[in-house]
């Protein structure tokens, strides 16, 4: 199954360079790193997903010695890995370019991971159930919103995000964190199981 | 071992192979104990399906011309010349009976038949 995750990277290896380059660009204009990691992680996972849908790659994958469970699981586990990957790079460059301190890092990591997990929990089962058309549209809309928002609310949006993140950082209750984390994890696992069920019934 | 098959002949391919190998054995070109190519090798050489050569080999084995050892292949059987002669005699007998039948239908006498036989037999000499 690890190989399936590597596959997702391999088929996007050319675009990966563009991703990293644009991350650097956005960091240079001070876009919130939380926002960057959030968007890029989701876009990456969903691109990989849509690549599998076109070119009948699904038929290839299901003809290879992989179970349907493995194929779905590679997306869910891959999401966590890719998010981690983007986090690493974004923070690295943020530090190099903007000298950002990595003080309250773990809370940010939790925030990003949590947000990504929530979004993916909803998008993946829907994408497995319905056609990728909707997925591509969703991605395009997301990106359009992002660009439009950046253009029109450029400084404000970033500050807004940063303020929200700041507020989040100052919440101290450990118990609250744990409960929310637990809920998100449960949501993610629930979505994972649902996706497996949907995918196992699929006909190619 | 040279074998030529015709795709356009009325005779099924396995029969053509059977007949040709049988001939090679009876004329002595294939010696007792000699090994035959595997049915798969032969199929590949002749560009036909394996089941065809398999059938041909099965027929040859059924009629005592070859025998097979699992894992080793197929080999030419000892051709007992007494048995061969007996077989040939039988075949000749059958053909002669047909000739006689035909002759009787057209009122051709035994003498005429004998004459024809002598003529044909000595023709090649």
């Amino acid at each position: 199954m690890l190989n399936l995750i590597l596959k997702d990277i391999l088929i996007q290896k050319n675009i990966l360079i563009i991703y990293i380059a644009t991350i650097i660009l956005y960091l240079m204009v001070n876009v919130s790193s939380v926002f960057i990691v959030f968007i890029y992680s989701i876009v990456f996972v969903l691109s990989a997903f849509s690549n599998d849908e076109k070119d009948n790659a699904n038929i290839l994958l299901n003809s290879l010695p992989y179970t349907r469970k493995e194929i779905v699981s590679s997306k869910y586990i891959g999401t966590l890995i890719f998010t981690g990957f983007f986090m690493f790079y974004t923070y690295l460059f943020d530090f190099l370019l903007n000298g950002k301190e990595v003080a309250v890092l773990w809370k940010e990591i939790l925030l990003i991971m949590g947000l990504v997990m929530i979004v993916i929990s909803f998008i993946l089962p829907i994408s497995y159930k319905f056609k990728t058309k909707y997925l591509t549209i969703f991605m395009m809309v997301l990106f359009a919103i992002y660009l439009v928002v950046v253009k029109s609310f450029f400084p404000n949006f970033n500050n807004l995000v940063k303020t929200v993140v700041q507020n989040f950082m100052t919440v101290q209750e450990l118990q609250l964190y744990l409960m929310i984390s637990l809920l998100i994890v449960l949501l993610y696992i629930g979505s994972w199981m649902l996706s497996i069920r949907i995918y196992e019934r699929k006909a190619f | 071992m040279q074998i030529i098959i015709s795709n356009s002949s009325k005779e099924p391919i396995y029969e053509q192979i059977y007949a040709q190998i049988k001939k090679l054995i009876l004329t002595g070109e294939l010696q007792e104990g000699q090994s035959l190519p595997s049915m798969r090798q032969l199929a590949k050489d002749l560009e036909i399906s394996v089941i065809t050569t398999k059938r041909a080999y099965e027929e040859l084995e059924k009629n005592g011309f070859i025998y097979s050892i699992v894992g080793k292949g197929s080999f030419i059987s000892e051709q007992n010349s007494e048995m061969m002669k007996e077989r040939k005699m039988k075949a000749i007998e059958e053909k002669l009976l047909v000739a006689i039948q035909n002759a009787k239908e057209m009122d051709i006498s035994l003498a005429e038949l004998k004459a024809m036989l002598t003529l044909l037999y000595t023709e090649d000499e």
Partner: protein
């Protein structure tokens, strides 16, 4: 002789089409040609064999095992060549290999290299640039590189030129030297099967019509031609299907010997092609 594929009483319904009580066995060590007209159920059957879709009822066993319990094990041993493209278009064959290789335990890089060279496939060009024939060869190279024991081919030669089709047959002949390999080959170009098929499985309208040794088909089936006066209620029963014209009739029989006894010398009896069998079966349905 064991069966590599066993389909037993398979039912599968779609909106417009049904496969009912389909039972097929594919013998190990031989090439089985799978024929049937368009819409007869060939692709559906192959998809069920590959577990790409599930049957409504009935069992499928490959190498004596079921997909429920042994999916990975079974697929390790199967090589597949499909009619449609299944490669990621924007990567190279080299990258495709990188993706596929780790899926198989028995991957043999040397063998892959050997076939890539023999088939003259470029490793560093995008799959997008590959012609249909090249894609088919790539699939085959992959199938052979992991020592697949069963090779499933769905219309592998459609859209390919005759020279190429001959080359493929040579490759298959070479492959069949190994008695542990089995090929299951669906096609509607029946002439391709004349040179390589050991068994023919004929499917029509979702039903299994027959599976026979190739030579048995010409022993049992025949095209019968004769004058119209020879036909009556009883004699027409001898045929699978009949075509009457002003000049006479042409029919397919599944029982050549009976026709010989019933009609004797009054008719012309000819060897049928697989196409004839498919055509007349469809007519007579």
């Amino acid at each position: 002789m064991e069966n590599v594929i066993e389909l037993q009483h398979i039912q599968k319904s779609f909106n417009s089409f049904q496969i009912r009580d389909l039972s097929i066995n594919v013998k190990k060590g031989f090439v089985t040609g799978f024929i049937g007209g368009n819409g007869a159920g060939k692709s559906t059957t192959i998809k069920m064999i590959m577990n790409l879709l599930q049957q409504d009822s009935g069992t499928i066993s490959i190498f004596g095992k079921s997909y429920k319990k042994h999916e990975k094990e079974i697929k390790e041993r199967i090589g597949f060549v499909y009619d449609e493209n299944i490669f990621y278009e924007n990567i190279t064959l080299k990258d495709m290999k990188r993706i596929i290789k780790p899926a198989y335990k028995r991957w043999d890089d040397k063998k892959f290299q050997h076939y890539v060279e023999q088939f003259e496939l470029p490793l560093n060009k995008n799959m997008k640039t590959f012609s249909k024939g090249m894609k088919m060869k790539a699939s085959l190279a992959i199938a052979l590189a992991h020592h697949a024991e069963l090779i499933i081919m769905d219309e592998p030669t459609s859209g390919l030129d005759p020279i190429f089709r001959r080359e493929l047959l040579n490759i298959l002949h070479e492959l069949m030297q190994d008695e542990d390999k089995t090929i299951f080959f669906s096609t509607h170009i029946t002439t391709d099967l004349d040179r390589i098929a050991d068994y023919i499985t004929f499917i029509h309208n979702g039903e299994h019509i027959f599976t026979k040794e190739f030579y048995k088909i010409e022993e049992e089936y025949a095209i019968v031609k004769g004058t119209l006066d020879l036909l009556d209620r009883e004699t027409e029963q001898e045929f699978v299907a009949l075509r009457k014209t002003n000049r006479g009739f042409e029919a397919l029989t599944a029982n050549k010997h009976r026709v010989a006894t019933v009609f004797g010398d009054t008719v012309v009896v000819e060897k049928p092609t697989l196409e004839d069998i498919m055509y007349y079966t469809k007519k007579g349905w």
